[in-house]
């Protein structure tokens, strides 16, 4: 059992490439935890789950929940208990959407992004809600390590 949970950890870390989404969600988590973006709860009022695949057709390697309904809003790793909408996409596409180089509507049309749940609420999630995951921002919201 020990080796299982440990290798679970390893497998998550060594999926060939490091997930860009991991970095991006870390940044979002920190951004929200610092109290920035506190108005998002009023603006959006929904809970989203993101399921990320490493590559197309592959299994889901990471899930994150962005809670923009509670006050204060928060982001955490792991599946959500009650998402209003769930987005599924591959890691690199998610990064592109967050950076603004791939339009989310376009992603949806092309089948690069799947949405389940309340479409109306899903439309409220736009990359502009968060700072773009540029190197600068990722460094700015980086965390100290033990």
């Amino acid at each position: 059992m020990e080796s299982f949970t440990a290798s679970n950890n390893i497998a998550a870390n060594f999926t060939g490439e490091e997930l860009k989404s991991e970095e991006i969600f870390s940044m979002m988590t920190e951004y929200l935890a610092r109290g920035e973006g506190a108005d998002l709860s009023d603006k959006v009022g929904a809970i989203f789950q993101f399921d990320v695949r490493a590559k197309k057709g592959g299994p889901i390697v990471g899930s994150w929940e962005i809670d923009l309904k509670s006050s204060p809003p928060s982001c955490k790793k792991g599946k959500s208990s009650g998402p209003d909408a769930t987005f599924t996409m591959i890691d690199s596409d998610f990064e592109k959407v967050c950076m603004g180089t791939l339009n989310p509507q376009m992603a949806f049309m092309q089948g690069k992004m799947k949405i389940k749940g309340n479409l109306g609420k899903a439309t409220k999630f736009t990359p502009e809600l968060f700072p773009p995951p540029t190197e600068e921002n990722i460094a700015k919201y980086a965390k100290a390590k033990l």
């Binding site: 390893i10 060594f14 490091e18 590559k55 596409d93 949806f108 049309m109 390590k145």
Partner: protein, 646 residues
Amino acid sequence: MAMRKAFTGGACAPGGQEQTMGNNAFTNMIDYMVSGGASASQKAEGFVPQMDSSNIAQMEAAYADQQKMEAMTKQFDAMSMPQQVMPQAPAPQEHISQPNIDQMNNLWNNPVETNKHADIEAIEHKFSNMPVHAQNFTGLPGMMGPMMYPPMGMGPQTMAPTTQQPTEEIKVEEVPEVVKVDDQMLKDDMKESTAYLINKLSQVPSEKMQNSQFLGFLKQMNSGALEVDENGLKENPQKMKEFEDAALKKARMDAEWYKDPIDGNLEETKENQKFYGEEGIIKEKDPFTNFDPHEFFKDSWNADELKEDELQKMMANWKAQAMKSQDFYEETLTQPPTETVIQVPKVDHFKFEEDNPYSNVEDAYTLACQLNEELKVHDAILALKAHLTKEPEHAPSWRMLGQLYQENDEDDKAIAYLLKAYELDPYDCESLLYLGVSCTNELNPKVAMNHLLDWLRYHLDYSDLPIPQEHIEDQDLLRDELRGLLNQALAKNPNDVDVLICLGVVEFGERNYRGAAEYFGQAVEREPNNYNYCNKLGAALANHLRTDDALQMYDRALALRPNLVRTWANVGVAYCNRDRFDEAAGKFMNAIALNPDAEHLWKHLHACFWATKEFEKCEQVKKRNIEYFRGEYDIINPEMLQRSEL
């Protein structure tokens, strides 16, 4: 007149307002379905049939259908426009909160109930009191924007009435106008109203709705495959074949669409590049010609998702692999190069370097410990690896390797080595403690906590505490359990600083940095010259945004241990948090000078120069040319450092 009202949905309201719904071929079609043929067509043309019992039954049936129609339309609106202002219709008793797909489907399947003892006047009374069903067709949800299928005009009510409606009294005796409704008008009307309904239904995000018979039926009507004539519904064989062919073709095309080898990752083929351009934005083909929203949505909603049993299978697979331990590590750790800012091939953690200067030393482990004391971390690591090549089962060597990598700010490798140590010696509690730390740093608090649970379990002093036998999956439960147990341990041994550290690590993992800082603060009080504790306290303070206090702690740690890469990196991060990127750069450089193998340090450095827009420096960072900066920045020299300490 009442008869016409029955089938026209009360189109003539007492106030003479034009009702927006009902006076069209669709409702007439309802009549066909319910009451049959000729009489219905007569009604469509405005004839007034005689009032007899059969007519009454038909009226009731028609009324029931009318109600169903209204209910359904209300539900469509409720589903697709939850935030829209509801029409100012005085209909308090018709509150529809949840769309009920089954109910709606069943509306069409259930037989109409007839009340044999109908009172004509009562029915008429109901008709005249039916609410104005003003319908706001405000179009489709915002996401689809301008690209989306435009709203169908204003729905069926824009259709000019086929008959003139008298504006004053509505009495049974009134003689209706006779207007010939020609076939083409009927057909157009049908197409328009079915299209409207199809549109509304397609927006409902439910598989059941998309696959419902009713929707299919509507589509057939819309395409002309099903027609309405004086005998009722009729199939138009040619159009039906066309419809079915088109549906089949669409299904095939959609299957192709999803097999299309366009993926967003780096291996896009040249062809896709040409087609989709730089960033996946379509340059050549416009995807919105022939865009059919309901077909498109249908396939999206039916798309695959990872089912629970698939997930279980995947995890079981990992477990099986993990059982092969060494093989597993070797397999998964030799990975192709990552596309980061800096291209560096990943190293296989367990393939140690061939030419190792310590390979012929008698007891390399002891030597390694000594080297570490002398701040010669790089050499200590080499010595350990030399020792492990000879004695691969030596758990303390693996553990020390893990510890050194952790201090060198490489948690991922640290975890690999620590797990190896633990595998060889489950009672090696220190490994578990280090594992708890590294897993927390890698943002895996649940795994970290389970490691700490094991630490308690195998600890000589605490194994008699009520520790659960199995690992706990639920993170909240795990956290509470662990906190309780650690507090019990502390009560048992108030001087055990390790327990304090564990408590701090748990809080840190839960992002409770204030709590973590309290525990680490206690640890530092007990052992003020422990660089490890100072760094932990600094980290907790920094993440709690007490940057100045954190920097003080970091300074103390570095005074005790100048080559502590982890702390240099933490200092850099602290400056980045404050947007002081130019100062941060210098700190990262020190970290890199001490451990050039740590990828993320180079990335951080690159980020600093990107932020300050010193692009030439970015280029040098990409080339990993640390010497370029030595003039401008006061970078630590590892050799000098160690000599001066002695």
